[in-house]
């Protein structure tokens, strides 16, 4: 199939010198060239150029978009960093404040506690004093009435006369106190301190 066609062409070519152009050959070569030149020049290459421009624009647009996005992201990051730093500072100051507050509260509490303790101590002291006083008073009256009862029994006479009995008791107590102070001089103070003082 190939060869039969090729050999006829070979035979046709052999009839003239291939270096010398024939007019139709030149004409058709020229026509083909012009058609293709116009085709590429006026149609294909402008389309191609347009495409390349569009593509370039698209890429540039994307780059620009990316730039803007990058800038936004940078700004946000900066903002966040600043906020974070602020927050850190704030946290630090709050912590500092808390520490100071704590110390203050602690000091206050300590003071309060010590004053409370002092108050309680004072109260206890005065209570003790009051109770002691009450004990002394009741003891005095009881000792008086006991002594009178005893003395009544001893002398067989009622000492119910208030005036006399009171005088007797007072005298007795005075004697008692006098003897106590006399003995306290010789004896140890601690044994008598609770009564005499």
């Amino acid at each position: 199939m190939f060869n039969s066609v090729n050999t006829t062409v070979l035979a046709a070519e052999a009839t003239h010198n291939p270096i010398l152009p024939e007019t139709p050959d030149l004409v058709w070569g020229f026509v083909c060239f012009i058609v293709l030149l116009v085709f590429f020049w006026r149609l294909v290459l402008p389309r191609m150029k347009k495409l390349l421009d569009e593509r370039g624009e698209a890429i540039e647009g994307n780059i620009e978009k990316a730039d803007i996005a990058q800038k936004e992201a940078d700004a946000l990051l900066e903002q966040y960093t600043a906020q974070l730093a602020d927050a850190r500072v704030e946290a630090g100051s709050i912590r500092e404040q808390a520490r100071a507050d704590g110390q203050r509260i602690l000091a206050e509490l300590k003071e309060q506690a010590s004053s409370e303790a002092a108050r309680i101590q004072a109260t206890a002291q005065s209570q003790i004093e009051a109770e002691r006083q009450a004990a002394v008073v009741s003891l005095r009256s009881e000792v008086g009435s006991l002594a009178i009862d005893l003395a009544s029994g001893v002398i067989g006479e009622s000492l119910t006369d208030d005036k006399r009995s009171a005088a007797i008791v007072d005298r007795f107590l005075a004697d008692l106190e006098a003897s106590e102070t006399a003995s306290a001089a010789g004896a140890a103070e601690s044994s008598t301190g609770a009564v005499s003082s």
Binding site: D25, F33, R47
Partner: protein
């Protein structure tokens, strides 16, 4: 002669093959650039690759952006015209390159010749021919030798070599294929007997040379466009 016999538009088989190749180019590039998308499909990528090859590797590489754009239509036309016309040599049924008779090579060489002279005269209206024939920096007495050499090499040999390189490559490629396939046919059908074994070898060679012809077709198209680019570049250069 098949059509318009006797007129300047007389058509023989090779002219028809040229028209077919021409239509193929127009069809491919028309379809390939019809609805161009920013993100190309497969076919568009292929077409773009071809156009970018000429634009980047030949025009812009040699001539720079500005001049490259000026001469891009010529270079693109040359490249694809030669490529497609060459490739018809290995396409079944067509079987002969559109460039294998001298018409197309001579027309294209003439275009190349006119282009580089136009480029030179346009850039250096007064100095182009003087610089081309009497290169600056050469001692004056050497001009006796240099000027004729430059005249012959630049203004006579360039178009002739362009024409003949392309023409002969295609003619010889065609003859080789004819030889191998005719030999195959001869061994197989005419000689017969044990001779038909040789047809295997000749067919294999025919196949290999068909592949080789594809390479030659691309290479010749590239060389022709590249040399045209180089000639234009030399004509545009400030110093010769």
């Amino acid at each position: 002669m098949l059509l318009f016999a006797g007129t300047p538009f007389a058509m023989n088989r090779i002219m028809i093959i040229r028209i077919i190749a021409l239509l193929a180019i127009v069809l491919i590039f028309w379809l390939g650039t019809r609805k161009m998308k920013i993100v190309p499909g497969r076919f568009q990528s292929l077409v773009e690759m071809g156009l970018d090859f000429v634009r980047v590797n030949i025009a812009e590489d040699l001539l720079g952006k500005k001049d490259g754009r000026r001469f891009l239509p010529i270079l693109t036309t040359m490249f694809f015209m030669i490529l497609f016309f060459n490739l018809t040599g290995i396409i079944p049924v067509l079987n002969i390159a559109g460039t294998s008779v001298i018409g197309v090579p001579i027309v294209l060489a003439a275009v190349s010749y006119i282009c580089f002279i136009y480029a030179g005269v346009r850039k250096h209206p007064a100095a182009f021919f003087r610089n081309a024939l009497f290169p600056p920096g050469v001692p004056w007495f050497l001009y006796i030798i240099v000027a004729p050499i430059e005249l012959v090499s630049t203004f006579i040999l360039r178009p002739i070599t362009l024409t003949l390189r392309l023409l002969m490559n295609m003619v010889v490629g065609h003859l080789l294929l004819v030889l191998f396939f005719s030999a195959t046919s001869f061994f197989l059908f005419t000689a017969g007997g044990w001779w038909s074994l040789l047809s295997i070898g000749s067919l294999a060679f025919g196949f290999v040379f068909t592949l080789f012809e594809i390479l030659v077709a691309v290479l010749q198209a590239y060389v022709f466009a590249l040399l045209t680019g180089v000639y234009i570049q030399l004509a545009l250069a400030d110093e010769h």
